[in-house]
């Protein structure tokens, strides 16, 4: 204290330390009855990285950053851009556009798009190649709307053990929006898919600096033409009734309901019908999962080279506690409302259960409004912690197909499809 005062001028001492000096004196006079044993501490920054153990935080530990058309998000990487959504943004069923996570694969992403020249090309193995302008999409087709969760394949990758290289996402690489646009099938029918076609490939405005023919040059994703998800796909020009932020794929992006975000091509420019299977890096080498139960394996099995892999597809069922988030201590007897979101790529949420004893006993939560099978479903449960102590709240969801969130993690080399039951410690203090 003395050295601090010595370094500080009289005025600053008054402004900064006056209060604390008074508080100390106050404690002396009153004998400290009921006062905390320690001085309030200054906030400490979160570490720059986590590991080699699992990330102990809900989000990744990156710094806050401001980006164009965005509220403050959590920085993973700056070029290519990867930004994570903070936990509190999931207190509503629809994630605000300005808080929606961002993930690009290549460094050349659009700062500006000129709609005078932007066209969506439908090409390849089709009868009539076509070019669609932004007004074409808004006026020549029937507008359809769908609420759908967009989740990065590597959401929660930082929970893997052992840790794997890749974007070290916490659990905020997801969001739900109301997407409005045109049915992909309608566009494909307009161009006329030729007999014998196998896949449809998507490409957007993102470009890379690497040599031609490599994954570092172009980002290309494909879906089988006989995949039923194609009937549900939308080429979306509207996100939550607004134009898409540039970082989320303005002017249009592909929406693949129930599928991981890798297929949701941003700044879409090409819908290309293929008469052979796409063997580019992003299909053949990246975003592949072991063809095993829960798409899980071990580092040892992977090294053996005998694990068959398939392209990643639908999102397994997940649920999250959003509030309370453990950032505050709760007085005993306080009527809390546990709340959060749940979703599944397998069509809707049937049930969400909560536990206040770390998963020993469960009770049903109340489900919020149903915005369709691919949307976030809000859930809530009232809970009054009876006495002081450390409680572990857990939440698990069951989807429409009967899949229940398991209480075990997965491991695969890409760090994909984490969906273990989430837990949150809540510290409850004496209320008197």
């Amino acid at each position: 204290m003395a050295s601090l005062i010595g370094k500080t001028n009289r005025r600053k001492w008054l402004q900064i330390l006056g209060g604390s000096a008074a508080a100390i004196a106050f404690q002396r006079v009153f004998g400290g009855s009921g006062l905390a044993a320690q001085e309030p501490s200054a906030p400490k920054p979160i570490p720059d990285f986590t590991g080699p153990g699992p990330n102990p935080y809900w989000n990744s530990p990156g710094q806050w950053v401001t980006y164009p058309q965005k509220s403050p998000l959590i920085l993973l990487t700056d070029r290519p851009v990867q930004l994570e959504t903070p936990r509190r943004a999931f207190l509503s069923a629809f994630t605000p556009n300005e808080a929606f996570f961002v993930r690009w694969h290549l460094p050349l992403i659009p700062n500006t798009v000129d709609l005078k020249t932007w066209r969506l090309h439908v090409e390849g193995n089709v009868e009539r190649p076509i070019e669609l302008s932004f007004p074409d999409l808004m006026t020549r087709f029937k507008a359809v709307s769908l609420a759908s969760v967009n989740q990065c394949s590597g959401n929660s990758r930082s929970l893997f053990q052992p840790r794997v290289a890749g974007g070290q996402w916490g659990s905020g690489a997801m969001g739900n929006a109301l997407w409005t646009g045109v049915r992909l099938r309608e566009i494909l029918d307009g161009a006329g898919v030729k007999a014998g076609s196998l896949q449809v490939q998507f490409e957007g405005l993102e470009k890379g600096m690497g040599p031609r023919g490599y994954g570092s040059n172009r980002f290309l994703k494909s879906l089988d033409l006989n995949n039923p998800v194609l009937d549900e796909c939308i080429v979306a020009y509207s996100m939550n009734h607004e134009p898409l932020p540039l970082l989320n794929g303005f002017p249009v992006r592909l929406v693949v309901p129930g599928f991981f975000a890798t297929y949701w091509t941003k700044g879409l420019t090409s819908i290309r019908v293929l008469d052979q299977t796409d063997d580019n890096f992003w299909m053949k080498a990246a975003y592949r999962i072991p063809d095993t139960p829960r798409n899980s394996t071990t580092p040892e099995e992977m090294k053996s080279g005998k694990v068959p892999t398939i392209p990643i597809a639908r999102m397994p069922v997940r649920s999250f506690l959003i509030s309370p988030d453990g950032s505050s201590k709760v007085p005993a007897g306080f009527p809390l409302r546990l709340q959060g979101v749940a979703f599944s790529g397998y069509g809707g949420i049937r049930k969400v259960e909560v536990s206040a004893d770390g998963g020993v006993s469960w009770r049903d939560a109340q489900l919020g409004e149903d915005f369709g099978p691919y949307s976030f479903r809000m859930w809530s449960a009232d809970w009054t912690p009876p006495r002081a102590g450390k409680y572990t709240v857990a939440v698990r969801a069951t989807d429409a197909k009967g899949n229940v969130q398991p209480d075990a993690g997965v491991w695969n080399p890409g760090g994909y499809e984490w969906n273990k039951i989430e837990r949150q410690e809540i510290v409850v203090g004496d209320a008197s």
Binding site: S20, A23, G34, V81, N111, T112, V113, G210, Y214, G215
Partner: protein, 136 residues
């Protein structure tokens, strides 16, 4: 110390009065001197009415890589496609994982990194970014 006596007593008196009025034990008035945050609000955009839709430039937020042999080689050979934040973001990874990553960038991603450089980069990553060696 003497010259701080009067302001101290004045504040103490005000504080005591406030505390008695509120009838609760609490601690108040602690402020930690802190660097002002780097995060500033951006000025709202001024738009034209043409068909251009712009987000402006995206911020480049280069991280501080550990100093040591090979740092400049890494920066020179890897920055074409991504910033070094792709290194600093990772958890501490074993040396063989770093070697595999550098190999993947060369063989699978087509990065033109000469053999000598690749060796230097792996040595640098092993010296600063493994569970045994990572400091920050």
């Amino acid at each position: 110390m003497r010259r701080f006596k009067w302001p101290g007593i004045t504040i103490l008196s005000l504080f005591l009065l406030a505390a008695i009025a509120l009838r609760a034990d609490f601690r108040a008035g602690y402020y930690a001197p802190t660097e002002p945050g780097a995060m500033r609000q951006a000025l709202p955009d001024v738009f034209s009415t043409d068909a251009n839709y712009s987000a402006g430039q995206f911020p480049l937020l280069e991280p501080a890589l550990a100093t040591g042999d090979g740092k400049e080689t890494l920066e020179a050979d890897c920055s074409l496609c991504h910033t070094p934040r792709f290194v600093t973001m990772q958890p501490p990874l074993p040396a063989e994982t770093w070697a595999a990553e550098v190999e993947k960038m060369r063989k699978v991603m087509g990065a033109s990194i000469p053999d000598d450089d690749a060796k230097k980069i792996v040595e640098y990553l092993s010296a600063h970014y493994t569970p045994e060696t990572r400091k920050r």
